[in-house]
Symmetry: C2
Subunit: 181 residues, 2 copies
């Protein structure tokens, strides 16, 4: 798989929506990508290959856009999928982390029994911006005794330097699509 | 695939959580199912076979738990995946429907360009309760000129009779797991 070619294919499908969800944000809308199964299958194959390289044992996908590709990658590789959800969405015992977001603040949770101690967990979301959500997910994984084995994104906004925050948790950070400005 | 056997396997993984999200609801938690990739792959294969039988052309998955299996089924079959989301989550032009929920009221949206006129759309969610959300999704599909080709659920609470509501939109309604009381 040629990653650069795939990057261009995905970029050609992403729609840019100004001032969403708040004024001043140029939102990258990946919904049109989901309408192209050929491209989605290339994305999934690419993610699978990266997860194998990193010896990932669990995929933790962040609500909700981390659910579009995360489960496919997990189940194709025979791995468990664990959702990271906004506070109050998961029933039963959970652990929580609060953090600052690009716009506002938020709290995310995982089920307390979602990760086995020592498991190599891949954290996945659709987009890496400032890294706040993915960092909070990494802290959840560590709270449960898991190892952060890497971070997997479809899109990375390089100019927001989220990668520098995440490097404290794992040197494995991969995105198919990069925006430099 | 033996559906009755799969039903028992899935039931064995579902956790029942009393009084979630509100008092009096015995919530069926499917998160432990997602940690068992073998069972998830059987669920996905079963859904694929049903979508093929119904000549589905698009999978519309309802936020968020309709995103766990819906994209896998769509992409494995080479079909587009279209998310049905809570109001305000989709950027750009959308159509909306408001409806009464088992507990409270809600509005859901789809992108205005998500469905082509005449396309056979399969509506998918994790659980069929009273049918309010799935009915609203069917109305969204019809607003965009699509045909409702069927409804696909992991779990159906038979005693809430949601199926009777949905039969107005399509006679094709399939769930792997049934709870009769």
């Amino acid at each position: 798989m040629n990653i650069k070619e795939l990057e261009q294919e995905v970029k050609g499908l992403i729609r840019e929506i100004p001032d969403f969800p708040v004024k001043g944000i140029l939102f990258k809308d990946i919904m049109p990508v989901l309408r192209n199964p050929q491209v989605c299958n290339k994305i999934i194959r690419t993610f699978e290959s990266v997860v194998r390289d990193w010896n990932g044992e669990v995929i933790a996908g962040i609500e909700s856009r981390g659910f579009f590709f995360g489960p496919s990658v997990a189940f194709n590789l025979g791995l468990p999928f664990v959702p990271v959800r906004k506070v109050g969405k998961l029933p039963g015992d959970t652990v929580a982390v609060s953090y600052n977001l690009e716009y506002g603040t938020a709290t995310i949770e995982m089920h307390s029994d979602a990760i086995q101690p020592g498991q190599r967990v891949i954290i996945h979301d659709d987009l890496l911006a400032t890294g706040g959500t993915a960092e909070a997910a990494a802290q959840l994984v560590q709270k449960l005794g898991g190892q952060v084995a890497g971070f997997l994104f479809l899109v990375e906004l390089d100019f927001l330097a989220g990668r520098e925050i995440l490097a404290k948790y794992s040197e494995n950070i991969f995105s198919i699509v990069h925006y430099e400005k």
